[in-house]
């Protein structure tokens, strides 16, 4: 009896969680300009519009992709020394540095976005793509810091001892022991930052100053004019990217462990 209730509850949660996503994705098939669900006169014309015909969307998509990739790379590069310092030294200074790095992610993004808007307008970079890239790197640097820290903690200290006994220098031990063992965690951190940057819009709104737009920003800006099925195509694209990325992390990395479960007993 209890088993049935439990499974029923989980199924209900899954359905409710999927419901708005399914509705948006379904609405992309509408032939007309209005979002109906179930779609009226289903067609794939909106996909053609989004990916081929309408240059606004293609430009926006290319900005989204560029910013997501570049900012995720930058976030990982900034995060590595921070996480390493936290693990190797673990002193108050490195804890403070990691804390400062996590601050933008923990506080309301609208406040950070407003602040970045001021920062870039003073330095004259407001509205440039690279300012957008750096902004997202700062916003999401917390994610690789966390995943890389988890990776470093999972290194078997006996391996380091063994390397040291065999005469490995710090640099060699780093390259042969630390780097390979933390690689999956680094990649996971990269993808977390990538996916979240891809979907973020409020910080980008203040930083882009309307001189360029990403896909989510484009949708955000047309909020008041109402949604169209073409935007729903973007939703399909975005949810697919997320599913593929997180499936890859689950396949090649240890997702339960990354999310904080006990290490798997092998």
């Amino acid at each position: 009896m209890l088993r049935v209730i439990s499974q029923g509850f989980m199924a209900l949660s899954a359905v409710l969680l999927a419901l708005p996503i399914v509705v948006v994705c379904g609405a992309a098939l509408n032939a007309g300009r209005t979002m109906f669900f179930p779609p009226k006169e289903p067609t794939f014309a909106r996909f053609y519009e989004f990916f081929v015909a309408d240059t606004v969307w293609i430009t926006a998509l290319s900005h989204s992709v560029l910013i997501a990739f570049a900012s995720a790379v930058l976030a990982v590069l900034i995060a590595w020394p921070v996480a390493y310092g936290l693990w190797a030294r673990g002193d108050a200074g490195s804890k403070l540095l990691a804390g400062l790095g996590s601050m933008p992610f923990a506080l309301p993004p609208i406040v950070f976005g407003v602040g970045l808007g001021f920062l870039w307008s003073f330095s004259g970079a407001l509205g440039s793509i690279w300012a957008g890239v750096v902004s997202h790197a700062a916003l999401f640097v917390a994610l690789p810091i966390v995943t890389i820290s988890i990776g470093l903690q999972s290194i078997d200290r006996a391996h380091l001892d063994a390397a040291a006994t065999m005469g490995a220098t710090r640099a060699v031990a780093f390259r042969t022991v630390i780097l390979p063992q933390t690689l999956p965690y680094t990649v996971s951190g990269f993808f977390f930052a990538l996916v979240l940057s891809f979907n973020e819009f409020i910080v980008m709104f203040f930083v882009s100053a309307s001189s360029y737009s990403t896909v989510t920003l484009q949708i955000f800006n047309s909020l008041r004019n109402g949604y169209t099925p073409t935007m729903a195509v973007a939703a399909i694209l975005f949810i697919s990217v997320s599913v593929v990325v997180f499936s890859a992390i689950a396949r090649w990395g240890d997702l339960p462990r990354l999310m904080g479960a006990e290490p798997a007993k092998t």
Partner: protein, 323 residues
């Protein structure tokens, strides 16, 4: 041997390494993090003391006028306005209800999920992370279609006769009093209900992710011991699981609450004009019609301080959990 800290071992190995000192690289990293992660907040705080000059610009100053306007209104002391305090109130109001709602429903779900096989957990996590990362704009779009009068839930309720049934039993009038119905049918846009529902949905996957570590590390042997001694599932939940989960639950609620303070799209789309939040008025002041950057910054600081207080409380709780 593992008692020796690794840094010592590595330093022994590379005896030629210079003694610990602050390197150039470390300085560069500090400068980088301070510039990128701290200066934006410092600027917001500094500009909140500035003043607007006619036109669209502002200048540096040291005035509390912007804060005064937030808390007592621009024409204080002749006139007392609560407009912006009200916005802060709605920020807190929506965030509290949505956070508690999300935790209450996510807790049993996560508890059940952690009892599945590791493989099944991975699949659930992929699903939950995908929905977590999906942009707020798409989620609001989805609920907008679901709750809209033409093609959403109200239409379904009318077609299936639920609306007529509600009218027959007289509950329809209650719904109208709550603002959830117009004379003809139920309506959810715009209402507190729709706002809170969407916000709870937004943080629900986040709630699962936050409750996942403590629940998956929960000592199963305690649960089993209680079961062997004849405790039913509810007794186990009440006497074993909930007491150990009290602090994580509170901590997670606080984090969700802070996250929800900054929600923008869901509020602009689903909340009535009179019930908008502070995040919305920050946006309006800085990029909207009013164009008053210092005033927007002051509101952002109020939001920031509110968030920091609750984050600090959460931090304190998690320290107590660890101890």
């Amino acid at each position: 041997m593992s008692l020796v800290s690794d840094t010592e071992v590595l330093e022994d190995a590379s005896a030629s390494a210079p003694p610990r000192q602050i390197s150039v690289a470390q300085l560069v990293w500090w400068a980088l993090i301070l510039f990128l992660c701290l200066t934006p907040f410092v600027l917001v705080i500094a500009i909140s003391f500035g003043q607007k000059i006619e036109g669209a610009a502002w200048e540096w100053a040291f005035t509390f006028a912007n804060y005064e306007r937030v808390f007592v209104g621009a024409n204080w002391p002749e006139q007392f306005t609560v407009l912006y305090l009200q916005r802060l109130y709605y920020s807190l109001f929506y965030a509290v209800i949505a956070a508690v709602l999300a935790i209450l429903t996510a807790f049993p779900f996560t508890y059940l999920m952690t009892r599945l096989s590791r493989r099944a957990q991975s699949i659930w996590l992929v699903f939950i992370l995908s929905s977590l990362s999906l942009s707020e704009v798409f989620i609001v779009m989805g609920w907008d279609v679901l709750l809209s009068n033409r093609s959403g839930l109200p239409m379904v309720l009318k077609e299936t006769g639920v609306t007529d049934w509600l009218k027959a039993v007289g509950w329809f009038d209650t719904l109208r009093e709550w603002g959830l119905a117009n004379p003809r049918n139920v309506k959810f846009k715009t209402s507190v209900f729709a706002t809170v529902l969407t916000m709870a949905y937004l943080v629900w996957p986040y709630a699962v992710i936050l409750l996942y570590p403590p629940l998956s590390r929960l000592d199963r042997s305690m649960v089993e011991a209680a079961q062997t001694m004849g405790a039913g599932p509810w007794t186990v939940m009440r006497t074993v699981v909930l007491p150990t989960m009290r602090l994580p639950l509170l901590g997670a609620t606080l984090l969700l609450f802070v996250f929800l303070l900054g929600v923008y799209v869901a509020v602009t789309v689903f909340a009535e004009p009179a019930k908008q939040t502070m995040a919305v008025s920050v946006y309006e002041a800085i990029r909207g019609n009013t164009l008053n950057a210092p005033f927007g910054a002051a509101q952002a600081v109020v939001l920031l301080i509110t968030a920091s207080i609750f984050l600090a409380m959460g931090q304190w709780l998690s320290k107590r959990t660890a101890a």
